[in-house]
Every structure is written in structure tokens, then in C-alpha cells.
């Protein structure tokens, strides 16, 4: 398996660019103003996983956006997923 230097040689610039994109996205949302949106709340919550120091950050980010409940919903009212769980009242 590649060592950390190999991985950084391969992916550092790409990851750096993506990180700046995340920062710019958040600046853009904040500049826009308006009402708080559950998707952005979930996004900010997911960012906390990056500081966990554990090697399961990707899983934690995905779980931060996921429906945490276990029972089927009564009926599907849409076909689409929006990327973040709106909460039980919105299902």
C-alpha cells in the first residue's frame, strides 16, 4: 500500500482545491442570506466529522446526512432524494 507521501503526491492538490470549494460554497450560502435550510444545517453538522481524528470520516459524513429512522414511511410522495434528511415531520 502507498505511504502518506505517495497519497499526498497523488491527491493533495485535488483535495486542496475541493476544500477551497467547500469554503467558497459556505461563503456563497452565507452571502445569500434568507431562511435557514435543513440541508445546510446537515452540511455544517457533517463537517464536524472531519475533525474526528478517526479513519471513518467518510462514513460519519454520510451518516450525518442520513435518515436515522428504521421504519418504512407510510407512502412515497416524491421519487427524488435531496441529499439530507429533512426530519420525520417532512417525510
Amino acid at each position: 500500500m502507498a505511504d502518506q507521501k505517495n497519497i499526498l503526491d497523488l491527491y493533495f492538490l485535488d483535495a486542496r482545491a475541493r476544500l477551497i470549494d467547500i469554503a467558497a460554497f459556505m461563503d456563497r450560502v452565507d452571502r445569500a442570506g434568507g431562511e435557514t435550510d435543513f440541508r445546510y444545517n446537515a452540511y455544517r453538522e457533517a463537517l464536524k466529522a472531519l475533525e474526528s481524528g478517526q479513519p471513518d470520516r467518510a462514513e460519519k459524513v454520510l451518516l450525518a446526512f442520513s435518515d436515522p429512522t428504521d421504519e418504512p414511511i407510510p407512502a412515497a410522495t416524491t421519487k427524488a432524494a435531496c441529499g439530507a434528511w429533512p426530519g420525520a415531520d417532512e417525510d
Binding site: 467518510a58 454520510l62 407512502a75
Partner: protein
């Protein structure tokens, strides 16, 4: 390089895509039944679609030297209408003996509703009654974790269903563990935004190993990349994986799973 495209919705793709895939080393393409991007208005629409999958599309693929296989079902996106689903389920057996049909798929859940669960259970019963392989679609984005758990519970509750004959597709970091731990196969779909990137899929292989797992493009009418699998193989090489390791993931593993169907013919593998 040689590879299998184990999940591509080729009815939505151009002949240029077939040509590019063949030139990139594709040895066979497998096409699960799926949602057309709009709701079909009747079971007759599905009948025509199943004819397309079992008769027309294999001819189109053969022009490029590609064996074409398929899976049949009504997609979970159209499972909210139970009456329609029953009508479609009734016509599937008529096509199950077609020479390119590998099994029932891509069944599963979309929004994790009760009706979707009912139709999933009926598909599983159809597969169990006819000793068919199963290819499972897991829900998108925020619905995936819950839906994957519900699907695994349905499959495990039917004693006729053997996990090694089911592939659970579209796994990501938060679902791959539960799928592999229960003995199922796992599929990683390489999408630009909504599923796995090539690098994340390669990470998953590093963490969970390369047994009972494959990669696919799930190319369809939406934003997707028909050459995603060979592109991921190239990235694996860049990361230092050797040719044998890559070949197992993109070629041998799909063959191992699909060879459980007597209809799957092992490609020559040039």
C-alpha cells in the same frame, strides 16, 4: 485491460458508447431493468421494455462484439402503484427463460415506503420461487442507510434466498460493511456526484478487501460515465495496485457472481 460492465442501462446510451466501451476492453455488458425517467402508463409499456431488453438490445450490443445480459423487474420508483406492480410482476415469468436473463433486478427500495416494501417482497418471492439471482438497487442519498437495512432484512427473512446469490448495489462507506458482513455481494456505482467516486471506491476496497465486490458505471439517461469502470481501473493502477488485483475487481469478480446463472457464458477475455 479487460473488464465487465455489470450494470449499465444501455437502452439510454448511444452506439458511440458501445464502441468506446468495447475499445476500452469491455467483454460483456449487463443491464438491469430500471425507471425510464418517467412513469410508464401501463403494464404494456413494461412488456415492450422487456422485449427491448431481451431481444433488441442484445442485437445492438452484438454489433460491437459485446455479449448482453439483463435482469427483469418493476423498479422501486414505480412500486407505489400496487395494482400496476402486480400486473408487471405477472408478465415477468414470460421473459425469465430468455437466453440473456440472469435474474430479478434491479429491485429494492427508493423512498422506503410500505408499498415499496410490499413490491420488494413480491419480487423476492418471484426470485425464490424460480431460483433466480437477485440484483438490488439501494436508495439514494439520505435514504440509503435505512433502505439498505430494510432490504437486507427482507432478503434474510426468506429462507430460499442465499446471500451469495444476491448483489446489493450502490453501496457506500456507510452501507458496505453491513452488506458484506451478512454474506451478500456488494456493487459500487461510480457516479460523478451522487454515489461513489473512483477514489472512494478504491478506498473501500483497501478497507474492506476485494472479495464479493464489483464496480459499475450504472450509466443511464442521467449524468453518468459509461467508461467509469476502466477509468477507475486506471486510477487503481496509479495508486499502485497491480494488474492481477485490478483484474479481479473489474473482470473476475463479476464473472464469479454472474456465473451462478447457467445463462452467463464466460467471455474469452482478450
Amino acid at each position: 485491460m479487460r473488464y465487465i460492465e455489470p450494470h449499465g442501462h444501455m437502452v439510454s446510451r448511444t452506439t458511440d458508447d458501445y464502441r468506446a466501451m468495447a475499445m476500452a476492453g469491455c467483454q460483456a455488458v449487463c443491464e438491469p431493468a430500471f425507471w425510464a425517467g418517467f412513469d410508464r402508463s401501463s403494464a404494456q409499456g413494461f412488456y415492450d421494455y422487456f422485449c427491448q431488453l431481451t431481444q433488441h438490445e442484445p442485437r445492438r450490443a452484438s454489433i460491437f462484439g459485446l455479449p448482453h445480459y439483463t435482469w427483469l423487474c418493476i423498479n422501486p420508483k414505480e412500486s407505489e402503484d400496487l395494482a400496476l406492480a402486480d400486473e408487471v410482476l405477472a408478465i415477468i415469468p414470460e421473459f425469465m427463460d430468455s437466453p440473456n436473463v440472469l435474474g430479478i433486478g434491479e429491485i429494492g427500495l427508493n423512498k422506503n415506503s410500505r408499498n415499496e416494501m410490499t413490491v420488494l417482497e413480491k419480487h423476492v418471492d418471484l426470485a425464490g420461487s424460480n431460483d433466480q439471482l437477485i440484483l438490488v438497487h439501494t436508495p439514494h442519498l439520505e435514504d440509503k442507510r435505512k433502505g439498505t437495512r430494510l432490504i437486507l432484512d427482507v432478503l434474510k427473512s426468506d429462507s430460499r434466498i442465499r446471500p451469495e446469490r444476491c448483489i446489493i448495489d450502490h453501496v457506500e462507506e456507510h452501507t458496505v460493511g453491513m452488506v458484506l458482513d451478512d454474506g451478500f455481494w456488494a456493487g459500487m456505482t461510480l457516479y460523478p456526484e451522487t454515489k461513489c467516486t473512483a477514489n472512494r471506491a478504491i478506498d473501500i476496497l483497501e478497507v474492506y478487501g476485494n472479495e464479493r465486490i464489483w464496480m459499475n458505471s450504472a450509466c443511464d439517461w442521467g449524468i453518468s460515465v459509461p467508461l467509469a469502470v476502466p477509468q477507475a481501473a486506471q486510477e487503481m493502477k496509479r495508486r499502485g495496485n497491480d494488474a492481477q488485483y485490478i483484474d479481479k475487481v473489474v473482470y473476475q469478480n463479476p464473472i464469479e457472481f454472474m456465473s451462478q446463472s447457467p445463462r452467463f457464458i464466460r467471455p474469452v477475455g482478450l
